[in-house]
Amino acid sequence: MRFLVGRRLLQLVPTFLGVTLLTFFLLRLAPGAPSLVGDDGIVTPAVQASLEAWRELKGLNQPLWAQYINWLSRFVRFDFGSSLIDERPVRTLIVEALPRTLVLTVLALIFTYTLSIPLGIHSAIHRGQRSDRIISGVLFILYSMPSFWVALLLVVVLGGGAWFDLFPIVGLRSSNMEGAGFFVRSIDLIWHLVLPVFCLTYPSLARTSRFQRSAMLDVIRQDYIRTARAKGLTERTVILRHALKNSLLPILTLLSTDLPWILGGSVIVERIFAIRGMGMLTFEAILRRDYPVIMGVTSLVAILTMVGVLLGDLAYAWIDPRIRFERTQG
């Protein structure tokens, strides 16, 4: 097991280098550059001169590979550089934005799994019956609805657009909350979270519940379930006591693929609800061609993707000794 972990960890290094190299060069070779020129677009000689000095100062005039090596050597020391626009360290920007995204994605994740696991189990037990078909159909339709469309519709209908003004649609906090107590502030936060969390939850219901459904179906077909039924246990006991636990194992690995999303958040939902989380941070960095911020966020999310895949594999190996054996042999 330890051998497996070690080898997999080593394998992450080339992947990480590949990802960052690709991203770095794609970003920098794409035509377009950060500039200090205003919207009027007039480049006076003075502006040109100071722009040159600024590029020199920021190291943007060095050859690209040197810049990459420079970036990489600082990244491994957790120094992500600082924003080209407001000079603040990228790390500070991320630390500021991260909690807002985490609140959204962790809640969405909890709702997704607590809803889709029972739904998936129900569908598996009632396979092919009407309730299974209805659940699958509804979730499939939800899955196909673009989240920006749903978010905008919710704003129109419930967020004071054209009909009801039930939920706030800007940010995560009301402006008059300065002196309010903890309880009032929490209620206010929950109020702000309802719509964005819904928008993050509904699209993944289909995938997760389908996964649970097929996992449950696999378990139900096993011999030991037939034995349990044969010895006269009620269907309820068979499912809850014998089948449930084993059917939950595969979904653990699905969780690991959600890891990058938990930190990266959703650009679209954060943009519509004006939440200054990781998605918005990236969005604004792209708008301003703020390379260090883009590189910082992308690399972090890439690392989490790799860690997620690794954790998923390890979870599988941990759960299923057969896989562990094969891997160590091969």
Binding site: V19, T23, A30, F140, P146, F148, W149, V156, G160, I268
Partner: protein, 331 residues
């Protein structure tokens, strides 16, 4: 392997699949005929004794300064014109209407922030969606199939390189990357979008084709082909590729849905189509901050939803009919 006819009849028997085909056919029809459905020039007209044929397509010099509405105003007794169903151009600004006007008899689905007809823009926007959908899918299916075939067939270092590259590209936060490239390239437009989506989405296809090739390579008929002395190229293209076509087709259908969704998201965020090019996502962008304009949100979003759902339904139906074992299982 099942026969083609079986596959088709299995697919057609699903009600969802029929609906999917119907919706997609409609969208394709609208995209092809958009100049005949919505245009600010007539289809056929006689103005000042002169006959104009298809000015909506060719825009003759004499009619250039006019729109259907200004033409009607200056028409003489013997003049006549046949207008398209929606007599507004995708970029025509209607000075007689307020910006963000709700649906009315003048503008059936209302107007956007620049007083343009929403329906006309939706009709022309279908072109962008389909074009980006089909073009990026062709790109990534080609790349993915090629690399998958090579990796699966030759194995060894070719396989190592391809598999490692797939792993690397799969690790990149795709949405951030596409967004960043679209945002940084100054003159990014529909073409850039197709290429970028195409270059990023090929990994799944490559994996799929690789596995399929590995499976096929071990079957007797490939061994026979090798024994007959066929060239590798012939074996790959004539014997392996056709047998792997089913899964590729399924992936392509889902891919169209994903690309259309991506295009709409990019355009919605302002990184996709420029303002002059009508697109569904672009229309939705106009609703940002104008949340009372429900018509600007409901209708274009509905178009995206219907198209994407149809592709997904079709993909599911195809997957089920190609391989009954896969029925209702996660990819």
């Amino acid at each position: 392997m099942k026969g083609k006819r079986d596959t088709w009849s299995a697919m057609k028997s699903r009600r969802g699949a029929r609906w999917g085909v119907a919706v997609l056919a409609t969208v394709c029809g609208v995209a092809l005929l958009s100049d005949f459905i919505a245009s600010d020039k007539p289809i056929l007209a006689r103005i000042d004794g002169k006959l104009y044929v298809l000015p909506n397509l060719f825009t003759p010099v004499g009619l250039r300064p006019y729109t259907i509405n200004t033409l009607i105003e200056r028409m003489g007794k013997t003049d006549w014109l046949i207008a398209p169903l929606v007599s507004w151009g995708a970029n025509e600004q209607d000075k007689g209407t307020a910006p963000l006007a709700p649906p009315s008899s003048r503008h059936w689905l209302g107007t956007d922030t620049a007083r343009r007809d929403v329906l006309a823009r939706m009709v022309h926007g279908s072109r962008v969606s389909l074009l980006v959908g089909l073009a990026s899918v062709s790109i990534f299916i080609t790349i993915g199939t090629l690399l998958g075939l090579l990796a699966g067939f030759f194995g060894g270092w070719v396989d190592v390189i391809v598999s490692r590259t797939v792993e690397t590209v799969m690790t990149i936060p795709v949405f951030f990357l596409i967004l960043a490239v679209m945002g940084i390239i100054e003159s990014a437009g529909i073409g850039t979008m197709m290429v970028v989506i195409g270059l990023v989405y090929w990994t799944r296809v490559a994996r799929l084709v690789r596995v399929e090739t590995l499976k096929l390579r071990q079957l007797g008929f490939i061994e026979a082909a090798t024994a007959l002395g066929y060239s590798n190229r012939r074996i790959l293209l004539v014997h392996i590729l056709p047998n792997a076509l089913g899964p590729i087709l399924v992936a392509a259908t889902f891919g169209v849905a994903a690309s259309i969704m991506m295009e709409a998201s990019l355009s919605f965020l302002g990184f996709g189509t420029p303002d002059a090019t009508a697109s569904w996502g672009g229309l939705l962008r106009g609703a940002m901050g104008n949340f009372h304009a429900w018509w600007l949100i409901l209708f274009p979003g509905l178009a995206v939803f219907a198209t994407v759902t149809s592709c997904n339904v079709l993909g599911e139906a195809m997957r089920d009919s190609f391989d009954p074992h896969l029925r209702h299982e996660v990819e």
